[in-house]
């Protein structure tokens, strides 16, 4: 139990914060209901995928600055492929774009392994490359998305055996998110591949000496990151119905949520659940600020302050909670 709290305490705390925020939201806007929750889930979608993409490389001891650019590229690719095409064609587009994210992500990893340039620099370079490629695909926002795709995030998911009022709180967007992320993540996490990802992030030399093929695992981590970013790009196209070549604010948001979610930027620690909850927290804060009609310039101050204060608080409890006698 103590160990569970020690390891999962941060996630539990975040969850409590999220619940608290929901209560606050209900107080601010008593009419806040399942429909609004659906909106929240849809807003969370691209951020959640961006954060998942970031989380996996951060756990592997890296960082991926190209996440948002990758989303832009996959989004414009999907949108321009579906433009004027039949509804069925989208069945081909989706796997194609996902594969593209996987391959381009792997390319990030390969470049890091081959050039031995620090990941932050390589992905900064690929940020420009992917942005450029997105501009070549579509030089202005445009394209289209298949109707069935758009419908896949609208409304709620009827779950058999669940009361209607409860169904209303299960938006399709949330189901999609859970399925896409956790179907990949949960088996991965406990597999040898997953352990290897944690291992190279925790101590690369020790991992290498334990027989982990470090370069290959790093490539896999970036490939998965690319895959999640492609999911993110698709979700952008699906929710807006177009593709936009200028990357949205997902890079910094993803780094912030990763840290808020309890994943150490040094690598090797944390999981996916924390960052995803952090995304919900950040989006809900945004909602509350809008509901309260706070001066928009002050919202920037508040969002920055939340980020800093929560992380400082985390650091503070770690410093305080250090057991007596442990060498710092």
């Amino acid at each position: 139990m103590m160990r569970f709290l020690r390891r999962q305490g941060w996630v539990a705390g975040l969850l409590a914060l999220l619940v608290f925020l929901f209560v606050v939201t209900r107080l601010i806007q008593p009419g806040y209901g399942s429909g609004d929750f659906g909106s929240l889930a849809r807003a969370v979608l691209p951020y959640a995928f961006a954060v998942a993409a970031q989380t996996i490389v951060v756990i592997a001891g890296g960082i991926d600055l190209s996440v948002a650019a990758m989303m832009a590229l996959t989004s414009v690719t999907a949108a321009s492929m579906m433009n004027g095409a039949s509804e069925e064609y989208a069945f081909f587009v989706v796997p194609f774009v996902l594969a593209m994210g996987l391959v381009l992500g792997a390319l990030n990893g390969i470049l890091i392994a081959v050039t031995r340039v620090p990941d932050i620099v390589v992905t900064l370079a690929t940020l420009f490359v992917l942005q450029g490629a997105a501009l070549l695909v579509l030089d202005a926002p445009g394209g289209a998305a298949a109707e069935w795709l758009k419908a896949s995030v609208v409304g709620t998911m009827p779950i058999p055996g669940l009361a209607d009022w409860a169904d209303a709180w299960v938006p399709k967007a949330l189901v999609l998110l859970v399925v896409c992320l956790f179907v990949i993540w949960i088996p991965l996490r406990s597999s040898r591949l997953g352990l290897s990802i944690y291992a190279i992030g925790s101590d690369e030399l020790a991992a290498f000496r334990s027989g982990v093929p470090v370069a290959r695992i790093r490539i896999v981590a970036y490939a998965l990151s690319g895959l999640f970013a492609a999911f993110g790009g698709l979700s952008l196209t699906i929710s807006t119905g177009i593709g936009a070549p200028i990357p949205g604010p997902y890079l910094l948001a993803s780094v912030a949520a990763v840290v808020l979610g309890g994943v150490a930027l040094g690598g090797g620690k944390g999981g996916l659940l924390g960052p995803i909850i952090a995304v919900f927290v950040l989006r809900l804060v945004r909602t509350d600020l809008t509901l309260l009609a706070i001066d928009p310039n002050v919202t920037a101050i508040i969002e920055g302050a939340i980020m800093v204060v929560v992380v400082m608080f985390g650091a503070f409890i770690i410093i305080r909670g250090r057991p007596a006698g442990a060498t710092p």
């Binding site: 806007q29 030089d139 909602t287």
Partner: protein
């Protein structure tokens, strides 16, 4: 809600570019107009840097906040269609400013971006005598306003077959990038006969002056800095095309009219740009009267739109909305 019972409205605003003079003026115009109208109890402003998906989020939050109307400067005309549709369904009046949107139920009061570019480019090419090399300094690659303006520019270019584009660059609507680009270009010594800018204008004139380069005609927007330069810089021939940020105030007015049951005849109202040149006496007079050195150089000088805005200069400059 409560406020409309008192005959007052809550208006939501969604904007996705922060920190740029034009957009700041737009927001201030919205606040000032809301205050001046006396009909607005509260403004609910979502104003941050984000993309179409982020704007959808903001619009849905505004729907949750149960505003009476939403005035939106769209990140993309098509990308927020779903959100606007939901707003209309929820009984909210939707007005798009600055750019059109594809959602048919929305009202639009917009600057005509294509015309903006066409008007300036045509004037410029005439100044150049219908031939020569033009430096084409665009906005941000991939932005929809930029591609609209590109259409207008290309249309004018087609009318002047002897005008060639010497160089096409994207300033990203950023002063420092624009300045570095023009300086690099000037250093090449390549001859040019005119410069068209997408609103990053005063740094261009600065660079010409600093480098003691031969003055060529420059087209920019009606930013306070540039208008001042057109009045004062010796040897500079140029034109400012209006692109009023006060369109935001007009959007609020339109929204209030609709809420009050006075629907406009058309769904779309286009505010046509004007061109003020310092080559003619008439133009000079317009520039003189428009000039406003007290404004930040990034702010457009056309701080009001006749018939559409009722606030005073003090009000927009104070930048305070109702209840502040």
């Amino acid at each position: 809600g409560m406020s409309s019972a008192e005959g007052k409205y809550t208006i939501g605003i969604s904007n996705t570019v922060q920190g740029n003079g034009w957009r700041e003026e737009m927001i201030c115009a919205m606040k000032a107009q809301a205050l001046a109208s006396g009909e607005v109890a509260k403004l609910n402003i979502a104003h941050r840097n984000t993309d179409a998906a982020g704007q959808l989020e903001d619009i849905r939050n505004l729907i949750s906040a149960k505003v009476n109307a939403i005035v939106v400067n769209p990140a993309d005309p098509a990308g927020i269609k779903a959100g606007l549709e939901e707003a209309t369904k929820a009984g909210i009046v939707v007005v798009a400013v600055d750019q059109a949107v594809t959602e048919p139920s929305a009202y639009i009061i917009s600057n005509n971006q294509e015309e903006y570019a066409y008007l300036g480019a045509k004037w410029l090419f005439k100044q150049m005598g219908g031939k020569g090399e033009v430096l084409y300094m665009r906005g941000a690659a991939g932005a929809s306003a930029d591609s609209d303006r590109d259409k207008g520019f290309k249309k004018a270019l087609a009318e002047f077959p002897d005008v060639k584009v010497a160089q096409e660059v994207f300033t990203g609507w950023q002063q420092d990038q624009g300045k570095q680009q023009i300086l690099s270009f000037l250093a090449t010594g390549a001859p040019i006969n005119g410069i068209w800018t997408s609103g990053i204008d005063n740094v261009i004139v600065d660079a010409l002056v600093e480098q003691q380069a031969p003055m060529v005609p420059v087209v920019g927007a009606d930013n306070a800095g540039f208008v001042g330069q057109l009045n004062s810089v010796k040897g500079l021939v140029g034109a400012a095309v209006t692109n009023p940020g006060s369109i935001g105030g007009a959007g609020v007015t339109l929204a209030l009219q609709i809420l009050d049951g006075k629907k406009p005849a058309q769904q779309t109202v286009l505010v046509q740009p004007q061109l003020w040149e310092n080559g003619t006496d008439e133009g000079k007079a317009k520039l003189k009267s428009a000039a406003d050195p007290s404004l930040s150089p990034e702010w457009p000088v056309s701080i009001s739109i006749p018939d559409w805005t009722t606030y005073t200069k003090d009000q927009i400059v104070a930048c305070k909305g109702p209840g502040e």
